[in-house]
Amino acid sequence: MASENWGSKLGVILAVAGSAVGLGNFLRFPGQAVANGGGAFMIPYFISFLLLGIPICWLEWALGRYGGRQGHNSPPGIFYTLSRHPSAKYLGVFAILIPMVIYMYYVYIESWCLGYAFHFLKGTLSLGKDPAAYGVFFEQYVGMGANGSLFSGTGMGTLFFLAIAFFLNFVLVYRGITKGIEAFCKIAMPLLLFCAVIILVRVLTLGTPDPLLPNQNVFNGLGFMWNPDFSRLTEGKVWMAAAGQIFFSLSVGFGLILTYSSYVKKDDDVVLSGLTASSTNEFSEVILGGLITIPAAYIFLGAAPIEKIAGSTLGLGFYTIPVVFNYMHFGQFFGFLWFFLLFLAALTSSISMLQPAIAFIEQAFGVGRKASVAGLGVVTAFGTLAVIYLSKNLAALDTMDFWVGTAFIYLSATVMVIFFSWVFGIEKGLVEANRGASFPIPRWVGFVMKYVTPLYLIAIFCLWVYNSAGAYVQAALENPDVLVTLIGLGLLFLFILIMIKLAGKRWAKTDARGPEGAL
């Protein structure tokens, strides 16, 4: 009995690891840190973790569980039921749009992992010790040279792995066998973390691989990551990127936790569940992601080229990690294992990104899971096609990642925290969050949620608008690919608003019929 108990608890931790570990840790975080001041980035990053990540994680678990008890599992429905004001349902638009759009480009990066695993297995990624060769491989693989280049003969391999990844996600969701994935990930995730530790040890023992470049050594590589440059802290975009990274990798602030927590029992411990997921994520991100990719990038590429790599924060790991494997014994095998396990980690994350929209379609229109999944499949397929067609310098991917994966998450998180603290009520909210908790949320966190977190979010946003927003708008106007992507996102936003309006009519009728008609 004792061992069964221990086994179930270990299972919880492995499931948490499976949910927490994703591409945000190993690929997005290092790129964001490099693009935003290296060590300086860690200051706003940790402040964001403490003032935004953990409080918003807790409030999202609490709001979701409360909404679930009222019969709603989709973000618009949860906002509607929490306030009973007809307009409140529109606040859920971000929580439908964001995970859906992130899925559109996330699944593409997920497919790169699968493709890289295949190429390592086949030996076509054993390109020697020249880092430039891996850059050329990556740029050709993702079609960075010109829009539409993936649809020529050379891009067929990329499209093939994308099709597999995209199809696999929807088959797993369609058949409702995420429990099977969970069981699989309980084995795969510890293996991924073990593999990451091996790579970490190899990176930290690389010394000075090229004697002609004595400055490009491990010590300076760690310094590039961790030395704080306080002058960067005056830039709003650095603070906004740090907050965005916390939201992205903890998967908080954009409806994912809100949706899943609506299915848990009323006395389940959401406080420790949320904190464990957050801390496990930080372990993967800061200790493994932060100590592997950036030092390796610095050692092989030097400081100057890193910030310019591809102009894409998500591509960095594909430039640098393959080089590390070629400095390792059994590098081909470890290269395959690493990218395949990363693919699995990404798969668990991308599947969960589909659930908010699926729950919304089901409850908005009274359709079953299969119809809901099919409809969502069509919408996301169009989005992913746009991402792969507008491949020149990864324009569509980076535009979506900034405007939706950072700015919109930011807005969504601001809406949630204000809603929780000022509409739902901080006292009621804390009572709800603490129900069934093994330890209560400290009282001072309530003060942080009510005053500090909203003010912090608003202050950073104002700082960003003051010194960076103009440049982003100008870039959008000058680059037609970016503009087209933004117009597409705008249309999708309007489409979801219309769907929410239609859903509201159905919910109003259901409410009029009484509790037995509740969804």
């Binding site: 108990n5 927490a20 030395n227 569940s273 299969k370």
Partner: protein
């Protein structure tokens, strides 16, 4: 790596490790079946 960088590294890694160990300790010492991660939550809409 500068002294400030070393401090940043040690404090960051220490903070994250402490928090993770605390959470794992609590999971192992608290009552079972009440903690969740998104991938182990049944969404209850898979049967039609």
């Amino acid at each position: 790596m500068t002294f400030a960088g070393t401090i940043m590294l040690v404090v960051s890694v220490g903070l994250v490790l402490t928090l993770t160990m605390f959470c794992f300790y609590k999971i192992f010492t608290e009552k079972p079946h009440t903690h969740h991660a998104p991938i182990d939550i049944e969404t209850k809409d898979t049967e039609e």
